[in-house]
């Protein structure tokens, strides 16, 4: 039997009727049309599906949408605060060439946001530990780490 749930996603309110076995990843992509969040391994290993749920980075492929009822979700579509400018993390990824095929990028950027909120000036070891749950099949880790260092410096200068 469908459950009616309420979600706030990137500041927009949604009310959707869903079956209890559907994941947050499926509901974001298929019901809300937010396909920025990717579906990778489906088992919690790759991190491509990472979103923030109530401020915490979680794997949307292992989150039942019904259990997120009432939750506040932020996806890669909600990283940039307006249409004029990308988020400093996104700008740093582009400027630093930290994107190859791009499939891991939305999850990487959400994990980076989670890390930088909790540790605004992380060490390289802290960045690598913070991204341990995000795999890049292109193995472009060095530039991803450097991009997060650059974003960290930018965000410390201009918070928000």
């Amino acid at each position: 039997m469908p459950h009616v749930i309420r979600l706030q996603v990137n500041g927009d309110r949604y009310e959707v009727a869903i079956e209890p076995w559907r994941t947050l990843n499926e509901v974001l992509r298929e019901d809300l049309g937010l396909t920025g969040t990717k579906h990778g391994c489906g088992q919690g290993d790759c991190g491509a599906c990472t979103v923030l749920l109530d401020g915490r980075s979680v794997l949307s492929c292992l989150t039942l949408a019904v259990s997120a009822d009432g939750g506040d979700v932020r996806t890669v579509e909600g990283l940039a605060q307006g249409r004029e400018r990308l988020h400093p993390i996104q700008e740093a990824f582009i400027a630093g060439g930290a994107i190859q095929c791009g499939y891991c990028t939305p999850g990487m950027e959400i994990s980076a946001l989670h890390l930088l909120r909790r540790r605004p000036r992380p060490t390289e070891a802290e960045i690598r530990a913070g991204l341990a749950g995000n795999l890049c099949r292109c193995t472009g880790y060095a530039k991803i780490v450097a991009a997060i260092q650059a974003a960290s410096a930018r965000m410390s200068d201009e918070p928000g």
Partner: protein, 306 residues
């Protein structure tokens, strides 16, 4: 991923949850983090007609500390909640070491310590320290609540003492005894986020200038987490030094029953068990205020990278 179909309930009280689970006659599963349950449902390893979500039950989401009774961890407390708890950080450093080296940020933001225990995996990272701490599990069923020492909970790989109608509701960890130190060490298969090929939790109690009681628990080197009783006895009343800790490490390794698998060979596991026990004992002794003669500094001892 496509999950099989099931019904979902999100009760607000423990009593409701227990009634739902018992009423389903083994066809319902408690659900909190979902990080292990959902992949198993997907692969067909676990079947469930009903999931009972524990995350909407306030009591199960709480961490409490009382100097007399110790730490109380509700069944829906996430690993990340434990890491954020000032009481755990201050009074239970070995638990912080173990949990911070478990899985990844996202899994720690979702998964629970109760789930880590109830999976019954011999390599669960939070278990050796809980056993060394003499933690108790509060198990609730329609017949009432019972308290079980965690050391009696594990029956085999994936098998526990949990009855079909029982729910783990709380983990009780006694208050830190005076003059004791605890430590955790792990050898992951590859990187820090990996499942352990070997993990250990130890306790050292200081009695004057020597070691009093000691506890050594090893994970992933047997069908269940093991106590190394002979190694523990060798430590009791001993003056700690590098040579003794070498001997105790080897003794503990000889008490393990490891297997070959994809993460490590049995021989490598046994060798590394000796090393990890020795390193963890140095950290625990230092935390207990006990000097270890001629030992390597404790700083490099746990392999903790976070």
């Amino acid at each position: 991923m496509s999950l099989p179909h099931f019904e979902y309930f999100a009760p607000r009280t423990i009593e409701e949850a227990v009634a739902l689970l018992a009423g389903a006659g083994g066809r319902a599963r408690p659900f909190a983090g979902g990080t292990d349950l959902l992949p198993r449902l997907q692969s067909g390893l676990v079947r469930a007609e009903t999931l009972v979500d524990l995350k909407r039950i306030p009591e199960l989401c709480a961490i409490g500390f009382d100097p007399a009774s110790g730490l109380t961890i509700g069944a829906a407390v996430r690993l990340a909640d434990l890491l954020d708890s000032p009481d755990v950080q201050r009074r239970y450093p070995a638990m912080t070491d173990a949990v911070s080296q478990t899985a990844t940020v996202q899994i720690r933001n979702m998964g629970t310590i109760a789930g880590n225990v109830c999976n019954g995996s011999p390599c669960a990272d939070s278990v050796p320290v809980l056993i060394a701490r003499l933690a108790h599990l509060a198990l609730m069923s329609p017949r009432g609540e019972r308290l079980l020492p965690i050391g009696d909970f594990f029956k085999g790989p994936g098998e526990t003492a949990l009855e079909p109608d029982e729910l783990l509701v709380r983990i009780h960890v006694p208050p830190p005894p005076p003059y004791t130190g605890f430590a955790f060490a792990k050898l992951p298969a590859r990187t820090a986020s990996d499942i352990s090929a070997v993990n250990v939790g130890v306790m050292v109690a200081r009695q004057g200038g020597v070691c009093g009681e000691a506890r050594i628990v090893l994970g992933a080197v047997g069908p269940v987490p093991l106590r190394a009783h002979q190694a523990e006895l060798r430590l009791a009343g001993a003056t700690l030094g590098a040579r003794l800790l070498e001997e105790v490490g080897r003794l503990a390794a000889s008490e393990t029953r490891p297997i070959d698998d994809l993460r490590a060979s049995a021989a490598y596991r046994r060798d590394m068990a000796a090393v990890l026990v020795r390193r963890a004992l140095v950290v625990a002794a230092t935390r207990a205020g006990l000097a270890v003669a001629d030992a390597a500094p404790a700083g490099d001892a746990t392999g903790a990278s976070e």
